[in-house]
């Protein structure tokens, strides 16, 4: 789809100062949130567990939350498949624009992608929660 890279003046705002001002406000908001988080950290720090001991395997090992879904999946499927799956998934994701080459003509494609993403997200969240409580 050949788009013109330059938009006309009518339906656009200048990058500086109008858009920069908006972005500055967003960064100020995030900075305030982060400072509040830091203030909470002064009273209840992130903390540490027991020092690492290679001789003593704890009963429940859990990775960070963003690997929990994969971790939960690995309990039920073969290890080789479970290790290869994320690599293939990332590769497929990276190459997706080359697989899905048809330009959008109607909003129907957008809606079907939205539904697919929603299902994937729900599955991921369920797996993560399952991994957290199990």
């Amino acid at each position: 789809m050949a788009e013109t890279p330059h938009t006309s003046e009518k339906d656009a705002i200048p990058f500086y100062p109008d858009h920069v001002r908006t972005e500055f406000r967003v960064t100020v908001g995030i900075t305030i949130v982060l400072l509040l988080i830091g203030m909470i950290g002064l009273f209840s720090p992130v903390g540490l567990g027991q020092p690492a001991d290679p001789m003593d395997t704890p009963a429940h090992i859990k990775p960070e939350w963003y690997f929990l879904a994969l971790y939960q999946l690995l309990k039920y499927i073969d290890k080789t498949v479970g290790a290869t799956l994320p690599v293939i998934a990332i590769g497929l994701l990276a190459l997706w624009p080359f697989l899905d080459r048809k330009p959008d003509r109607r909003t129907k494609a957008k809606r079907s992608r939205l539904i697919a993403v929603s299902i994937a997200i729900v599955v991921l969240i369920v797996m993560t929660i399952w991994g957290e409580v199990s």
Partner: protein, 345 residues
């Protein structure tokens, strides 16, 4: 003749302006400094004796120990700069602040003098210094024309919804992670013996250390959330389609790098959670068919998680991955800049 007299007047005004506050400053600072030195001997001696007497009477008290360590050496024997910064005068009027105030006032005088003389001499209105600096740089590098073209580039109005912010928020959080990460790296020691203790030191001894660590911890989580949200937005709107394929590829690589940041950073506290999460995580990488063992050995630097794993993860976390991220981010932004924001249907 007229010129000479004008110069003499100018020089004398300049001298007066510099000398009067200078002399006042010199007298005030040095009078105070020297007068305190005369009595310093007796006073500190008496104070020292008092402290020693208290110490001898109550040797087991810990509070007295703390006061004993506060005894200052005599000013002329003080090897450190303590007394020059906050020693002899306990109030605001310390030598450092005196110097700051007088040099600040002197700079203001020098600026005013320069401004008046130059207006008088050139008979032209005063040009502000930032404007002069900009002109000086522009004379040499011709930067203002391309810069203003870049800044004036229009942003389409459809790109003003909140969900177009997600990528920018990710980039901003990356900057925050960089700053707080550098602050933590000042105190962190990447060895199995010292890592745990250095994190404890950051959390308990370093001023605002626990706040910085908290921001780094939650900033990393926020960065992953924002990165995924940005990717979903791009995916749903179909903004990855031609001609923006490479931007999508660089974005996926950036997501992988963000996850790698999380994975390598998780080991650094060197507690049980970190150690065993890394053991299991590298084990999963080890069961990839074909390159599994290679990946395992590359990540662990050997067959077990140990000192070399820690230093490898640390160098990946603070050197390799940030460098790759910065390069990919620049490419990502340049491509967006070149192609513009994708127009939604």
């Amino acid at each position: 003749m007229r010129h000479i007299s004008r110069k003499i007047i100018l020089i004398s005004i300049a001298l007066a302006l510099v000398m009067v506050p200078g002399t006042v400053g010199f007298i005030t600072t040095h009078a105070g400094a020297f007068s305190s030195l005369d009595q310093a001997d007796q006073v500190t001696n008496r104070a020292e004796l008092d402290q020693i007497r208290i110490l001898l009477s109550q040797p087991e008290s810990k509070e007295k120990d703390a006061t004993a360590s506060v005894i200052l050496p005599r000013p002329e024997k003080d090897p450190c700069l303590h007394c020059h910064i906050s020693g002899e005068n306990k109030n605001l009027w310390t030598p450092f602040i005196r110097w700051s105030i007088f040099s600040g006032v002197g700079l203001v005088f020098a600026y005013g003098l320069y401004r008046s003389t130059s207006t008088w001499r050139t008979r032209a209105p005063w040009k502000p210094i930032p404007k002069r600096a900009a002109e000086w740089i522009d004379d040499r590098y011709q930067i203002s024309e391309p810069l203003s073209r870049a800044l004036k580039k229009p942003v389409p109005k459809f790109a003003l919804h909140w969900w177009y912010c997600l990528g920018g928020i990710t980039a901003f959080l990356f900057l925050v992670q960089g700053v707080t990460g550098i602050m933590l790296a000042f105190y962190y020691k990447p060895t199995p013996e010292a890592a745990y203790a250095s994190i404890q030191y950051i959390e308990t001894q370093v001023r605002f250390g626990s706040a910085i660590r908290m921001i780094h911890h939650w900033g990393s989580n926020g960065m992953i959330v924002m990165c995924i949200a940005h990717m979903l937005r791009v995916f749903i709107m179909g903004a990855y389609k031609s001609p923006r394929e490479l931007n999508w590829v660089s974005g996926v690589l950036l997501l992988a790098l963000t996850l790698a940041f999380g994975f390598t950073g998780y080991l650094l506290p060197w507690d049980q959670r970190a150690y065993w999460a890394t053991t299991v995580g590298t084990e999963i990488a080890g069961s990839i068919p074909g390159i599994g063992n290679l990946a395992l050995v590359f990540l662990r630097v050997g067959w077990d998680v140990g000192a070399l794993t820690l230093s490898r993860f640390y160098s990946l976390h603070v050197l390799v991955i940030p460098l790759a991220t910065v390069i990919l981010m620049l490419a990502h932004f340049l491509m967006v800049r070149r192609q513009g924001v994708a127009r939604p249907l």
